[in-house]
């Protein structure tokens, strides 16, 4: 059993032809230059990898380099050394390996498509409520500092909305009453939004736009549904999960251009966002019925909210965070 290669002296770039061979269970090095024959022992041996030379480090500090992978494996096996990672068998380009890998790939991709949301949701639900409320509070303070102004609403109408809000919270599964803030905002227009674990923000324009209490309860119930189902945190955890996976996928990126490949993460999470909106719509209707408000008023309120956008907002694009008007009405109809 002979292994041809080159021997490098310790820490030197000078090499000469040499041979490793097994004689009666002992590893023997024969150098071509000076005819040295000596028994040697191995320390570290590099793993097998297509096209790369194997590096066999000797205990005396010298390095033996060979291109003969099979010969090196045979000598290592005869010496009873652990074979190291045998991944190269799977890496070899062959039809069998390709089929095997693609099969595995489809299985894993399918598993991720269905499994990742479940796993991310579990992680989100496992986080303590306190942390979620702190995150939501911090995000609110951030937005408040640059996009929101103090409310101009009369105290009477603020109290009316607050009363409806508390009534709706009591009907929901929430064990606490989230903070409710009234704000004016030119940037956001008629709008209401919920941060993870509360607070809920309602803009003046929204309160003015609502024709009656029924419509207001609909919007408030929608936001409470987001908090109830922890949509904000779940969306965040799902986005984190996909970011990890996509960055593993393109881990060998080297240029700025490759950053765009992370685009799919945005698309996937916007899809989740739209699904959560529909979920919150449907939950809002349930809460409204429970409290004896007219569910039809919620549809009318949605129509008012979407009106400035016109027909362009009837259908959602694949990058938008909210479903289109018609998507939402369609999703609400069978629930009635």
């Amino acid at each position: 059993m002979n292994l041809r290669g080159q021997i490098f002296e310790t820490a030197s770039a000078r090499s000469s032809g040499a041979e490793l061979s097994l004689r009666a269970g002992h590893l023997v090095l024969t150098c071509q230059d000076d005819g040295e024959v000596a028994e040697v022992q191995l320390t570290k041996v590099s793993d097998r990898l297509a096209g790369t030379a194997r590096r066999l480090h000797l205990t005396d500090g010298r390095l033996f380099v060979t291109e003969d992978d099979k010969g090196a494996d045979a000598i290592l096996a005869a010496l009873g050394r652990p074979a190291g990672f045998r991944v190269f068998i799977l890496e070899r380009p062959s039809v069998r390996n390709l089929a095997l890998c693609l099969g595995l790939f489809v299985t894993i991709a399918g598993g991720l498509y269905f499994g990742l949301p479940v796993a991310a949701d579990l992680a989100a639900l496992g986080l303590p409520d306190r942390l979620e409320r702190q995150a939501g509070g911090a995000a609110f303070e951030n937005l408040d500092s640059w996009a929101l102004e103090p409310s101009q609403l009369l105290t009477a109408s603020q109290d009316r909305v607050r009363g409806l809000f508390e009534q709706t919270v009591r009907a929901s599964k929430l064990s606490f009453v989230p903070e409710l803030h009234f704000r004016a905002s030119e940037l956001l227009g008629a709008n209401a939004f919920a941060f993870p674990g509360g607070p809920v923000v309602v803009t003046d324009a929204l309160v003015t736009l609502a024709p009656n209490n029924d419509a207001l309860v609909g919007v408030l119930a929608h936001e409470i549904a987001h908090i109830e189902a922890r949509h904000g945190l779940r969306r965040l955890m799902r986005a984190v999960g996909w970011t990890i996976i996509v960055s593993t996928l393109i881990g060998d990126s080297s240029t700025v251009l490759d950053e765009l490949v992370a685009f799919p993460v945005v698309l996937i999470t916007q899809g989740y966002s739209r699904a959560f909106e529909i979920e919150a719509d449907q939950r809002a209707l349930v809460l409204m019925r429970q409290l004896d408000f007219d569910p039809k008023a919620y549809e009318e309120m949605l129509a008012r909210l979407y009106a400035p956008c016109g027909t362009a907002c009837d259908e959602a694009g694949w990058w938008s965070s909210h479903p289109g008007f018609e998507n939402r009405i369609e999703a609400l109809t069978p629930a009635e």
Partner: protein, 361 residues
């Protein structure tokens, strides 16, 4: 596997340099193939997913070893010496630090801002550790690279100079790029042998101006048609592909290809001005247009194939770079001696990797 040991390939630098006494140039030779790397890439991907990312440390080793190990100079291959455990350890610490930093925002955004100020002085330290680790793990002919930059030098090259470039609205950018690459290359060692680097400021500014012209041309060539397509789609009632969506994409592609054009030009300037002690030189002829085309077409191929052509693209880009680099030895190449200084841990390297720093040549 074709592994016959061919002799080192010797090519003349230019038609005129074949006369006696001139040392022949040694071309860098890459023997990897897309099909071979596809297997490695796919297995890396699968194992990383199955192990929830833990394999990615070993995946990185196998990826770098494949590219280094299949790149030969004078018949000897390069190699990457890190093992997965080293990288995993560094990566875990880096992930812990980043997670800690991110969680500060939950406690109080103000605390996070303060923490950021504490982080900035740490960056040169992290960059130094990263460059040193990368260098010590790179070996050719049993001799490893080393990197010996110090804290203040790195602070100047990677914090102060970029700051100057920003404050001067980009006017000092070429000077900053030159300072950083000279600093970087001068602090490399091949074993005990030192590098000397020269690069003229004029050439850096020339590359910069050429890049601006390149960007404008690309922006015009891509932006015009895409804007038109967007307007037509809008008129046809197709939503979501309007000019305001397509135009930023055109600008992004123009910017990114311009960046690789600049990369190619400056790489040539730096490598052609580099000498290793003993008078060994380098000859880099990476064409700017060619390389930016490789980058752009690789990107399109990767997107259109949903990532499946990524390995082909990576091999293609590496081969293109290798094909345009040669060494100009001034004497025998077997006289180098390694020094025994330690590599340090992989924390800096993994932190830079996760944070997306892109340093090195």
């Amino acid at each position: 596997m074709a592994q016959q040991n061919e002799g080192p390939s010797r090519i003349p630098v230019s038609p005129g340099s074949g006369k006696t006494g001139e040392p022949p140039a040694l071309a860098l030779e890459f023997r990897g193939s897309a099909s071979e790397y596809f297997g490695i890439w796919l297995v890396n991907l699968l194992l990383s997913l199955i192990t929830l990312g833990i394999w990615s440390a070993w995946a990185k080793v196998r990826r770098i070893r494949y590219f280094y190990g299949n790149t030969r100079l004078d018949g000897h291959a390069f190699d990457y010496l890190a093992d997965g455990w080293m990288l995993l350890k560094g990566r875990l610490i880096a992930v812990a630090v980043i997670a800690l930093y991110a969680s500060l925002e939950l406690i109080d955004p103000f605390v996070q801002i303060i923490a950021t100020f504490f982080f900035i002085p740490l960056y040169p330290f992290i960059i130094n550790r990263s460059l040193r680790f990368q260098a010590r793990m790179t070996v050719w002919r049993n001799v490893r690279l080393n990197w010996q930059g110090d804290y203040m030098g790195t602070f100047k090259a990677y914090v102060l100079w970029p700051l100057a470039a920003v404050l001067s609205v980009g006017l000092a950018a070429p000077a900053a790029a030159r300072a950083a690459s000279l600093y970087l290359t001068r602090n490399y060692r091949f074993g005990t042998a030192e590098f000397a680097a020269e690069a003229s400021l004029k050439e850096f500014y020339k590359a910069f101006l050429l890049t601006i012209a390149y960007f404008m041309a690309m922006a015009f060539m891509l932006g015009g048609p895409l804007f038109g397509i967007g307007a037509v789609l809008r008129a046809e009632g197709v939503e979501g592909f309007g000019p305001e969506f397509l135009l930023p994409i055109a600008m992004f592609i123009a910017g990114a290809t311009a960046a690789s054009y600049y990369f190619a030009l400056t790489r040539n300037i730096v490598l052609n001005g580099l000498t290793l002690s003993g008078g060994h030189g380098f000859h880099s002829t990476l064409p700017g247009l060619g390389y930016s085309w490789i980058t752009l077409s690789n990107f399109l191929a990767t997107i259109l194939s949903l990532g499946l052509l990524r390995p082909w693209a990576a091999v293609r880009a590496w081969r293109y770079q290798a094909d345009h680099l040669a060494a100009l030895p001034a004497g025998p190449l077997d006289t180098f001696v390694d020094d025994q200084s330690k590599a340090g841990g992989a924390f800096g390297e993994e932190f830079s990797d996760l944070e997306g720093f892109d340093i090195g040549v």
